[in-house]
Structure formats: C-alpha cells, structure tokens
C-alpha cells in the first residue's frame, strides 16, 4: 500500500493493482480488512471517488467483498484468483511486448531461448 | 430583521468601535494640547472638540464606502445590506454626536442657545444626508442624479457659509467656520470617493 502513484496509468487502476500486489505479497491477508476509500484518499491525496472506483473494480472481480457497516475485506481465495488473472495477463502484458521488441531489434527465436536458459541457470 | 443584516451590523459595530476609539483618543490628546500649550478658553476648546466630532460621521461613511464595501461583498454580504448599513451608520452617528454635543455644553456650563443646537443639528444633518445620499447614489447609479444632488448640497452649504460670511472678521478665528471648511472638504472628498465606491461595486 505504500507504492507511489505515477502518471503512466489511471489512478484507479493503480489503486486496484496496489491492493492486488499487497494480497500477493501477504501484506494483506485473506478475510482481512483493506483500507477504506477515505483512508486511501487521504494517503495518496486523491479524490475518494477515484479510490472507490479502484476498490469497486476488485469487488466486481470478487477479490474484495463488502461487509455492511464495517468495510471492505479480502475474499478467501483472492490470492489464487489474482495469481490466475496475472498469469492470463502475462501473455498480453509482458510476452507480446517482449516479442515485438525482440522482433524490431532482430533478436532471433534461438537467441531468446538461450536467454531463457541462461537466466534459469543463474538460479 | 433578516439574519444577514444582523451579521452586517455586527461587523459594522466592530470596525466602527475601532475608528471611534482612535478619533476620541485623538480628540482628547488635541484637547489636552490646547489646554496646556495654547491655553485657550474652555468654550473654544469645546468647539474644537465638536469639530472633531463632526468629522466622525463623515469619515466613517467615507471609510465605509471607500474600503469596506469591497470587503463586505467578499464576505458574502448582499448589496442591499451594505446600503442599509450606510443609512444605519449615519442615523446612529447623528444621534450619538448630538448627545455628546449636549453633554459637552452642559459640562462646560455654557448656556445652550436654540441657535447653537440648530446650527449643530444642521451641520450634522448635512453629514448624515451625505451618508444617506451615498446609499442612494450607489443604488441608483446615475451620474446625472449625483450631479444634481451635489448641486443642491453645495447650494445649501453656500447659503450656510454666506451666513457666516457676514461676520467676516470673526470668520477665520471661529472654530465653527473651520468646521464648515473641513466639513465642506470632507463632503467633497466623500463625493469623489463615492464615485470610486460606485465604480468598485460596478467593477467587481
């Protein structure tokens, strides 16, 4: 929850990603309360409506749920769901752009495969 | 009385209190100066003090128009209440200074003649009229009307001055004449300032 906002992306998307990151990193645990819209608004100096938009995005995806009168909580199984979602995103977000870049630089398929092997061997 | 007007009056008394205390204090220092240094007769000193008192209604109205309108508007006061403030201010000061005048004469145990009161009331009324006219002038906005009123006003003042003129030798030595001159200048200043006041309201 302490990442910095950038201008590269809509703020509400950044808010929802930060919460996701915190869930993935076990900073926020399942069935735990997440900061309220107002807390987020105060923390980042953003309009509460924007913070709410980010949170609602996660509610729609069943990652957060609302307990009436108490606040927003992390759904059990949210972590797995986020991981699954990120895996699906991986192709679009990283792989495709990597291939585009590799293509424009003339990096061959063989080069790429050997890079993957070399990176793996480091571990 | 509406809520906004009450608030406005509350503010007027706040700032008026300040100016009042400054003028009264100034008057006292002036009085002490006259008694100790110049060693003038008590009767004359009281007339000097009256002079200062007569300056109050003028200067307060002028101050109100010149400086306060802008500020009161910025605090969300309606124009109507600002005009009402001008009327109230002048009427109140007329009553106040008349009371002080009578009190002063009694303390000095000078006999109060009908003429004395009349001339004082007239000069005060002129000041008060000026204040009220300010209100009308700003509300009505017409330059032509302003000139007309200015004409009538100075016509009256000229008559008043002419009366004193017959006592030419006395004229410049009498504080009352100085009161007239100062009053006249203030009125002139007031009217000029009035034009600016109108412009302030227009421009904002």
């Amino acid at each position: 929850m302490n990442e910095i906002l950038t201008q590269e992306k809509s703020i509400y998307l950044q808010i929802s990603e930060m919460i996701e990151n915190d869930i993935l990193r076990d900073i926020l645990l399942e069935e735990e309360r997440v900061p309220s819209t107002n807390e987020l608004a105060a923390l980042y100096a953003i309009n509460p409506a924007t913070a709410a938009k980010g949170i609602n995005l996660l509610v729609d995806r069943n990652i957060l749920y609302k307990k009436r009168g108490i606040g927003m909580f992390v759904t059990s199984g949210a972590k797995e769901k986020i991981r699954q979602h990120r895996k699906e995103e991986f192709y679009q977000r990283y792989f495709k752009t990597m291939m585009e870049e590799a293509h424009s630089l003339g990096i061959t398929r063989e080069d790429l495969i050997s890079m993957i092997h070399a990176e793996d061997d480091k571990k | 009385m509406n809520e906004g007007f009450k608030r406005h009056i509350q503010y007027i008394s706040l700032y008026q209190g300040k100016i009042f205390s400054i003028i009264i204090l100034g008057g006292l220092i002036y009085g002490i100066f006259l008694t100790t240094v110049i060693n003038d007769s008590p009767g004359k000193m009281i007339e000097y003090f009256e002079m200062i008192l007569a300056v109050i209604p003028c200067s307060l109205t002028v101050n109100y128009i010149r400086y306060q309108i802008d500020f009161c508007l910025s605090m969300g006061c309606t124009r109507r209440n600002i005009y009402l403030g001008i009327y109230i201010l002048t009427a109140e000061l007329l009553v106040e200074s008349l009371a002080v005048f009578l009190l002063m004469k009694m303390i000095a145990s000078t006999s109060i003649t009908a003429d004395m009161i009349l001339s004082f009331v007239i000069s005060e009324l002129l000041s008060a009229t000026l204040g009220v006219l300010n209100g009308f002038l700003i509300r009505r906005f017409g330059y032509a009307k302003m000139l007309l009123i200015l004409g009538i006003f100075y016509g009256g003042l000229a008559l008043f001055a002419l009366n004193s003129f017959f006592l030419m030798t006395e004229f410049l030595s009498s504080p009352s004449s100085w009161l007239l001159i100062i009053g006249g200048l203030l009125i002139l200043y007031g009217l000029i300032v009035n034009l600016f006041g109108k412009k302030t309201i227009d421009r904002m």
């Binding site: 105060a42 100096a45 | 809520e3 500020f71 969300g76």
Partner: protein, 296 residues
Amino acid sequence: MENAKELMPLQCKNIIKKYKEKEVLHNIDLTLEPGKIYGLIGRNGAGKTTLLSILAAQCPATSGDITLGEETVWENQQALSHICFSRELNPVAESAIASMKVKDYLKAASIYYPHWDKEMADRLVKTFELEPGKKILKLSKGMLSMLTIILALASKADYTLLDEPVAGLDVFMRDKFYKLLLEEYEKTGRTFLISTHIIDEASPVFEEVIMLKDGAILLKENTEDLLSRAVHISGREDAVDAAVKGLKTYRPEKVGRSKGITVLMENGQEFQSSGEISVQPVSLQNLFIALCGDEN
C-alpha cells in the same frame, strides 16, 4: 461523504460578462452538483476569477442567472449563506484588509459566515504557523494563501469556491492543503470548486475538471474519464499521421521526420498501438497545454 447534504445544485445559465465593451465570459452554462470537488483550470485571463466571483454573486453578470436549486443567488442572503468564495487576498494600502490583523480578518469572517467553525479556524492557524497578531499587509504570498484556505475551510459553506489557494505555497504546504481538503470533504461532503495553475499535482483531487478557454467552457468532465480518452502519439510522421487519421488531434510537434501529437478520443473509441509508434498517457497538465495552448 456519509453526511452528504441533500442540497440543490449551483447553476449558472447563459452568463455573459462584459467590462465596458470587452466580453470576458461568453454564454457560460455550468452546473455544480453537490458533493464533488471540481477543478477549474484555464490560462491567465481566461476568466476564472470572474466566473468564481459571479457564481458567488459578488460580481454582477452582465446577463444570465445564478441559481441554487430554485432560488436566485443574486442578493439572496439565504442562498448566499451556502456559498463561500475565498478570494485571493491582495492587501494594498487602500483596502479594508490592509489595516487588519490575521485575527481581525478571521473575526470578520466568523461574523459573516453563519456556519463558521471557530475551533477549526484556530486549529488551522496553528497548523500553518500563522501569527494571529500579524498584519495582513505584512504577510508573505504563501501566508496570504494559507489565510484564504483557512477562511474557505472554516466557513463550512456547502459550496466553497477557492481562487488559486496554493499560489505561493511550498510543496509541503500544498500537500498539506490537499490532505486537509480531502479530510474536510470526506467528513462533510461539501462541494469545492478550486482554480489552480499547478494542475498535475491537484488533478487526482478533482473528481471533475472544468477547462475555461477565452471566456468559454471548453470542457467539463470526470477527470479520470477525460484522461482515459487522451493519449500522446509519437513516431515517424507518416506512421503517426496514419494512426491518428479520423481522430481529434491537438498540438502537433515535429522534429525532422519525427512527430508527436495529442489525441482526444471520443467515448468508445480505442487506440491500437503498433510497433511503429509510441502511445503514452497524457497528464492533465499536458492535455491542458494541448487543448488551451496557442493555435498552430
């Protein structure tokens, strides 16, 4: 926003303002919904201050109406009690505030604003480290801004208009202001309309942004929605031109074969990026420059 009041919108219709022959506001229609923070941006001389002043009925419009719900605002004390316009303070020797001290100014404000929160005003004076006994004439630009902020927040008016509240404030104080503003907004759900020249810093605070250009409203839109429609495209000129064909473009810039241009898409339009061009998000400030900068 739990306590968002059931208030009527503040509206202006067909506002025209002329100074002598010069028309500075042309047919302004604007509705401020209760419970939002609006940003008002425009170049110097676009008419921001005049518009704010007219909305608060401090400056008469040449024609047009301002209404709060069904009621006319002009000369209406009842309606005016819901509005606070905290003007930029300009203490010249020839003004009422020149002779005032900080505490006198706040005292006057406490008289005029029916919902004045004295406790809050006192607290903010401490927060901003203002000396209550200091003459307004002696305050620095930043301190004057602080005073206008205190007036605006402590007035507790349902519609609070601020004219460049952060001018002259350092970055810490500006941050403090945004936080104070949001805190107050969350507690009360009051409506704020804030003009500023420091756009990017304030844009996350604005739920909606109103752009004023040459005395007319260029746009009024949810800030996030507006920014999601705007992109900057750059690359080789022909590739860029092909990519932006049929789209609304602003402020093209060319260096040699390279070209950059700002695109404002219509709702629903999407931009397809390719290896040929760079597509970047645009900040509100850059969008403002693109939309309101000099033609050509």
